[in-house]
Every structure is written in C-alpha cells, then in structure tokens.
C-alpha cells in the first residue's frame, strides 16, 4: 500500500511537470510572437509575388507560420537565419501546391486567344500583367523565387543562395533557365 510520502512524491512530480510544460508553452509563444512580428511583412511580400492573388498570399503566410508553430524548436536563432528558414518553408508550401495543381489546369490558362501588348490600353495592360504573372506561376517555386528575389526585390545572388539554401551557381542557373522559360511561355501565349 503506497504511503503518504509516495503520494506526495507523485503529486510533486506531476506539479513540476505541469509547471515545466506551462513554462515551455510560454517560451514557445514568446519565440513565435517575436518571429511573427519580425518577419510577417517580409514573408507576405515574397508570398504575394510568388502567388496569383492577395488571398492566396495571406494563406501562404498563415500556413508558413503555422508550420513554424509546429517546429518552433527547429527555427534557428538570428534574424538572417530565421528569414532564410521561413523563406524555405514558404517555398516548400508553394512547391506542394504547385505539384497538386493538374498540369492541364495550368496549361488551360494559355488556351485563350493571344493578346497584344499595346501601351496605353488599360485592358490589354491588365491582360499583359496577368499573362506575365500566370507565366510566372508555371515555374517551379524555387526557380520562381529566384526570379522574384532577383528581378523584383533586387537581391544579390549570394543573398538569394543563402535564402534558398543552394549555391550561387545554382541560383544563376535558375535565373537563366527561369528567364528562358518565362520568355517562351509569354511568347507562346
């Protein structure tokens, strides 16, 4: 028959475990809060340029930070390392979405009649912008990210390599191939 001391010991252990768990939750919340506050705008800008709409971009940002929530201990310390980690998570989500979409659904966008790029015409300018961005959606997310980071954010190749977790040579290759693919898609549309 367990003695009172045994019960006390078990209770003390349970309380200690609960306290430690609560402390862990609070630490995780603090870490996530600082991560979100520091990087949510940066993640959104990249997500918006990677996706076709503001709604899709907001979903990407939400999903990125939800994944960070589930793996908060894996997030490295330091602003640059955190940024690179979040960018890679974002790209992984984009890649998963990209794979899920049927190739036929993507190609059907370009079955529409071709439009001309006439300056000064708001409608055709809108079509031109849509065409360019839809062509961008056809690229593999990593290649798309390299193009976006270089052409739109003005990032240098070493920084792009750090964010994407690849070598500078790979970044240059993605940029070269990406530009050729985009040009072909836009020309064919």
């Amino acid at each position: 028959m367990p003695t009172a001391d045994v019960y006390r010991g078990v209770t003390a252990d349970a309380i200690a475990l609960a306290v430690a768990s609560e402390a862990g939750v609070q630490a995780g919340e603090g870490r996530l809060a600082s991560l979100f506050d520091a990087h949510h705008l940066r993640v959104y800008k990249l997500a918006r340029r990677m996706s076709g709409s503001a709604d899709a971009a907001r979903d990407l940002v939400q999903e990125t930070f939800l994944r960070a929530t589930g793996a908060i201990e894996s997030v490295p310390v330091g602003a640059r390392a955190e940024e690179a980690w979040l960018v890679r998570v974002l790209l992984n989500i984009c890649r998963d979405n990209w794979r899920r979409q049927a190739r036929q659904a993507r190609l059907s966008v370009f079955a529409r009649p071709a439009s001309s790029f006439v300056a000064g015409d708001h409608e055709t300018a809108f079509i031109a912008r849509t065409t360019v961005w839809r062509a961008l959606q056809m690229l593999h997310p990593r290649r798309r990210a390299a193009i976006v980071l270089y052409e739109l954010e003005g990032a240098q190749i070493p920084d792009i390599a750090r964010l994407l977790g690849v070598s500078a040579v790979t970044v240059r290759w993605h940029l070269s191939r990406g530009r050729r693919e985009l040009a072909k898609l836009i020309r064919d549309s």
Partner: protein, 118 residues
C-alpha cells in the same frame, strides 16, 4: 526580345496594392499563437519499442539457429585449391581428414582426432 525583368517590374502586384491590413496581421498572429503547444514530451514508448524489436529479433535468430542443421564441410582457405575437401579417407569414424593442395603443389593433409583434448 522580351525583357523579362522589365515585364515583371511593370507588373509587380505590390506596386499597386497595399500591404497587409492590420486586421489581417492580427488575425494571422492570433491563429498562429493559438496553435502553440508546449515542448514535445519524451516519447518513452519509442525506445522501448526499439529494444523490444531488437530482443525479439535476437530470440528469433537464436531459435532459428538451433533448429537449422550444422553446416557441412570444413572451411577452405581462399589461397588454396582444394583437391579433396571434406573427404573422410580414414575408415575410423573418430578420425577425419581434410586434404588440399596449394598452388605451388604442396599437398596438405589435416587429420581431425575427435579424442584429442588440450
């Protein structure tokens, strides 16, 4: 020639759109924070499962090993060409011989005496 960079910059959606609204930021922050849980507890069953798997494998191997008959034939070296392997020349059941010849032609005969003890 299509100037990809210029096309992209002219079509940049962020050039004409506002960034995230404060309400959207607050909502996303709240959703993320609501999913925070404590540090993962030690998954104690996993090491136990690994230990049990190893133990079961060992026991099964020992049991299977005891059921199988002992291997027949003596070991033969890699650098010799056996002329007669496991050939019991002697008629006596307690004495067995193993004869083989080396590449140089030297004939070697091993006689196994079951009565021999150190």
């Amino acid at each position: 020639m299509i100037e990809i960079g210029k096309l992209l910059r002219d079509s940049d959606p962020l050039a004409n759109e506002p960034t995230l609204a404060a309400a959207d930021i607050e909502r996303m922050r709240r959703v993320a924070m609501s999913h925070v849980s404590g540090p993962p507890t030690a998954r104690w069953p996993q090491p136990v499962l690994v230990a049990v798997t190893i133990a079961v494998t060992l026991i099964a191997s020992i049991a299977l090993g005891r059921r199988l008959p002992p291997p027949r034939g003596a070991a033969i070296g890699d650098d010799v060409t056996p002329s007669q392997a496991h050939d019991p020349v002697s008629p006596e059941p307690s004495r067995r011989q193993l004869q083989f010849a080396t590449p140089g032609g030297t004939r070697i005969i091993w006689v196994f005496n079951s009565d021999f003890s150190l």
